[in-house]
């Protein structure tokens, strides 16, 4: 028999792909159940309005219509959408508006018909009598006296105020050589997974059982929330995340429509499906970012940063989704970045606005933090006339200081920030690039070099870091089947990340079997033990660690049995090439299958040992991992058009040990694309009346292939001590490094014109104006 190779660390083609490239994968909308009805949601065209009456008579009698529900029909019959993060004011979040709408797109009624076309026809016949109210979309205005109040019961638009005080910062400000002050904005973004949301519910009357297929990152957490909202026992609810077409945090949530289809299916005794349209996706799927930050940074003239003091205004939207008020905390805690800044303090004011809720979007609070830290470093360099590389080096946490406790109390696991910076500088040939830049300027060409050295939080995380109903542990079951093939059941819920491949690599190596002999199952609460889900770059570092715990347990049992068969101590044994062999001499071995046969009790050699070969484990991390890296971009701005052109983009990322280089590259590429999009293109725009301007993909500038550069990747490898694989996580790194890197490059290009800062997105028009104004001045 051919020798079984090793898989970890190799370039392995994904095992998910054959079904995806052949068009045979099953996303929610591809699930077909006979007799399925379609639901269409009627949504508010107003940002803020009182509902006087809703007339559904014409809709109810339209062809094909089975049911029409409004908020009144649901009152006191179902719960509201939960927010599990603590906040001073958490409003009731209804499935359908109750008397008032508070953002454009808020669900007002739902129509169920034999197909979606008929449901839409009927929805168009519903007459809603609204009294339009003043709306507030600017979060800074929402707290002013006289601002329209969204939730009257609170008498204020304040969601909550978070304070992390530290008098040492004020002392630093008092004795600094200089205090640099500025305001920066992390604009609202839309996650835009290419598959919009969607859910299909199927109630079984005789069993009293509900099955819901939904496009989610968290099937188990969603099951808990769904059961609670609908008042069903959790063991009678099954949630299936089938193929999921991207999430980026937007599907780390529980939405009105997921509960609505469950309610409707139970009411009607038929399967009910709702599929989100892109317009709805841009208006009613959570947004991300939405933070304004005022900064005060005391420095010494040599570039040493003595502290950071920040005030955040956080735009929460009209209601709170699952984690809405938890996201800004990460921005505050991480804003000191890779730097040994002795003191920090911040105040966060979170406010209601007449907009869709914000919540996690790729990076969830850490991109904002990295943007603050890395813009700060460039501001410091600019104000003091120092090189941005020099300022970073002066403030870096040194490599021998790890594990390092930051002034915010976070414990960074491991790091070598200079190594990543040096590697990136080498790749771009920094001194040469600076010389070229100076030369180009002489000819009126504006070239900019942007650096961002980021650190972020991954492997989220120890449960204590998260709200109680979104714990930080993860689960895995490993089962060696009677034919010695392996089934892995993981509590994470990948939706493009590729753990069907990476987990198979890991399990195959551990048992000395082929990768094709491992099957990874996820996303079905009836099959997989309770788990948490895929977000916060935790799939591998937390989910993978749970996998290795279960692998270890099955290995131990196999070794014990084999040791009696081979008359060798268990700790002398290893798994290789489908055998259990002596570590010291692989030729002394027995076939793995023989040990498996024994374990299943057919020739059980150890009296009293429980037959079977499976193990379930839960990994609770002791801390988060902190991946880091340096991204450098070189851009050129056309002064006549304001268009930014990339001359190069280099990313050096350190995500610890790498299981699958191909997949790591894919994650970094995708992340960089989204981060560049924040820097240059994307912004969710509401006008001052709360009307959504960016309601289609024509207006919301998710980047296309020719809007993005070619990325050059490299790595340094600093293993994490916190999990057995030494991995850190890489799902969000690209997004976090790229945004400040590109903004710093553009600002560097415009520095000769005296431009200090321009808020994102750096669209051509904005840059063209800034250049024109600067030249005039």
């Amino acid at each position: 028999m051919a020798v079984v190779p090793k898989f970890v660390g190799e370039r392995i083609k994904r095992r998910e792909d054959p079904r995806l490239i052949s068009g045979t994968a099953t996303y929610v909308d591809d699930v077909r159940l006979p007799g399925t009805l379609s639901a269409v949601v009627l949504r508010s065209p107003y940002a803020h309005a009182r509902i006087n009456s809703i007339n559904v008579d014409a809709a109810r009698s339209a062809p094909g219509v089975v049911a029409v529900l409004t908020g009144a029909d649901l009152k006191d019959k179902v719960g509201g959408i939960p927010c599990v993060a603590p906040a001073e004011h958490i409003p009731f979040h209804p499935l359908l508006a109750q008397g008032k709408v508070r953002f454009v797109g808020e669900s007002v009624a739902v129509v169920v018909a034999s197909d979606a076309y008929k449901a839409q026809d009927a929805a168009d016949l519903i007459e809603v009598d609204y009294d339009s109210l003043d709306a507030v979309s600017d979060p800074e205005k929402a707290l002013e006296d006289g601002a329209p109040i969204l939730h009257e019961e609170f008498g204020t638009n304040l969601v909550t105020r978070a304070l992390v005080p530290n008098p040492a910062v004020d002392e630093a400000i008092a004795k600094a050589d200089k205090v640099i002050k500025f305001r920066i904005v992390n604009q609202r973004l839309a996650p835009v997974p290419m598959e919009p949301r969607g859910a299909l519910a199927d109630w079984h009357q005789a069993l009293g059982h509900l099955t819901v297929w939904t496009s989610t990152q968290i099937p188990h957490l969603l099951r808990s929330a769904l059961a609670a909202v609908l008042g069903l026992p959790e063991n009678r609810v099954r949630v299936i995340a089938p193929e999921v077409g991207g999430g980026f945090g937007a599907k780390l949530n529980f939405y009105r429509e997921e509960a609505l289809v469950g309610y409707l299916s139970r009411m009607l005794g038929k399967p009910v499906k709702w599929i989100e349209r892109r317009r709805e996706n841009l208006a009613t799927t959570t947004h991300g970012r939405g933070q304004i930050t005022y900064l005060e940074v005391p420095v010494k003239n040599d570039g040493t940063v003595l502290g950071i003091k920040a005030k955040f205004i956080c735009d929460m939207g009209a209601y709170l989704q699952l984690l809405t008020p938890a996201i800004p905390g990460f921005s505050g805690l991480m804003m000191t970045g890779c730097y040994k800044i002795p003191a920090m303090s911040f105040e966060q004011v979170m406010v209601f606005t007449n907009k869709m809720a914000t919540d996690a979007y790729r990076g969830a609070g850490r991109p904002e933090a990295a943007y603050i830290a890395e813009r700060t470093m460039d501001m410091v360099a600019g104000e003091l006339g120092l090189d941005p590389v020099e300022v970073r080096r002066r403030n870096f946490i040194p490599k021998d200081a790890f594990p390092y406790t930051t002034c915010a109390g976070l414990v960074y696991d491991s790091g070598d920030y200079n190594a990543a910076l040096n590697k990136a500088l080498e790749i771009v040939d920094y001194p040469k690039m600076r010389a070229e830049q100076a030369e180009a300027l002489k000819h009126g060409r504006y070239i900019g070099i942007g650096i961002a050295s980021y650190v972020e939080i991954c492997g989220i995380g120890p449960s204590a870091m998260l709200p109680p109903k979104v714990p930080g542990w993860e689960s895995a079951t490993v089962r060696m089947e009677p034919d010695s093939r392996v089934t892995v059941l993981t509590g994470i819920s990948p939706h493009g990340q590729g753990q069907e491949t990476t987990f198979a690599q890991m399990a195959a190596d551990a048992f000395g079997i082929d990768i094709d002999d491992v099957t990874v199952v996820h996303g079905d609460t009836a099959i997989v033990q309770y788990g948490v889900g895929t977000f916060g770059s935790r799939g591998l570092s937390v989910g993978g660690a749970a996998l290795m715990m279960s692998v270890g347990k099955v290995q131990d049992k196999l070794k014990k049995i084999a040791s009696t068969m081979m008359e060798a101590p268990p700790d002398q044994l290893t798994f290789t090439n489908r055998t259990v062999a002596l570590k010291s001499d692989a030729s002394k071995s027995i076939p793995l299958q023989a040990v498996v046969d024994a374990a299943y009790g057919w020739k059980m050699p150890i009296p009293g040992m429980e037959p079977g070969l499976d193990a379930t484990s839960v990994f609770e991390p002791t801390g988060c991992t902190f991946p880091f890296g340096t991204h450098i971009s070189v851009v050129e701005i056309d002064p006549d058009t304001g268009v930014v052109k990339f001359l190069s983009y280099v990313a050096v990322d350190d995500c610890g040990n790498i299981i699958s280089p191909l997949l790591v590259a894919g994650q970094v590429h995708g992340g960089i694309a989204q981060g560049i999009a924040q820097a240059l293109y994307e912004e969710v725009v509401y006008d001052e009346n709360g009307q959504l301007i960016t309601a289609t993909l024509m207006d919301y500038a998710a980047p296309r292939a020719q809007m993005l550069p070619r990325y050059e990747l490299a790595h340094t490898v600093t293993p994490s001590p916190l999990n057995p694989m030494g991995v850190k996580g890489v799902g969000e790194a690209g997004t976090i490094g790229s945004t400040p890197c590109v903004v710093n490059a553009v600002m560097d290009a415009l520095k000769p014109l005296g431009v200090r800062h321009i808020d994102m997105p750096l669209r051509p028009e904005k840059l063209w104006r800034a250049i024109k104004d600067a030249k005039k001045a």
């Binding site: 068009g23 045979t24 997974p193 290419m194 919009p196 991207g246 892109r278 493009g496 024509m698 292939a705």
Partner: protein
């Protein structure tokens, strides 16, 4: 209304509503769910299929407009149990993550490769500008198309 068309080489004849979109015809009438809907407004390309060999966005074509035409969807790419070179390219070069854009992306690429056998990176980026991918940042998609182009050139002996 009755439409007669060929889908992936199979002739079909169906009674449909005149307003039915081609993408819904393919998914709900013909049962071919490999073609996806990402925006229903010609802006994302997830629904791209070949209509008489040319890439079109099937969310903005009525099924009745395809009467008499021949349609190829992702399900029609593989031949004799073997993947089309573009499918091999996407698999080999990790040209997909969540896979939602992939069928449309591959159909747009097949259209490009039917017009030019050795496209440059720029030409590929340009040809795919109607197709959004939110996962990959496009670099591996470009490599996938280059891989397919090379394989197809080799097969054609060029």
């Amino acid at each position: 209304m009755r439409v007669n068309l060929t889908v992936n080489g199979q002739p079909r004849s169906d009674e449909i509503e005149p307003r039915l979109l081609l993408v819904h015809y393919l998914r709900d009438v013909a049962g071919l769910t490999g073609t996806h809907v990402g925006c229903e407004s010609t802006l994302c390309g997830a629904c791209t299929v070949l209509l008489d060999g040319k890439a079109v966005k099937s969310c903005t074509v009525l099924a009745v407009q395809a009467d008499g035409a021949s349609v190829t969807t992702v399900e029609g790419l593989a031949k004799d149990g073997k993947f089309h070179p573009i499918q091999d390219g996407f698999w080999e070069e990790h040209g997909l993550q969540c896979g939602y854009c992939t069928p449309g992306m591959m159909m747009a690429a097949v259209d490009l490769l039917s017009r030019t056998t050795n496209p440059s990176e720029d030409e590929i980026r340009h040809a795919l500008e109607g197709n959004l991918c939110r996962c990959t940042g496009y670099q591996h998609i470009i490599k996938a198309v280059q891989y397919a182009a090379e394989k197809m050139r080799a097969a054609a002996g060029r």
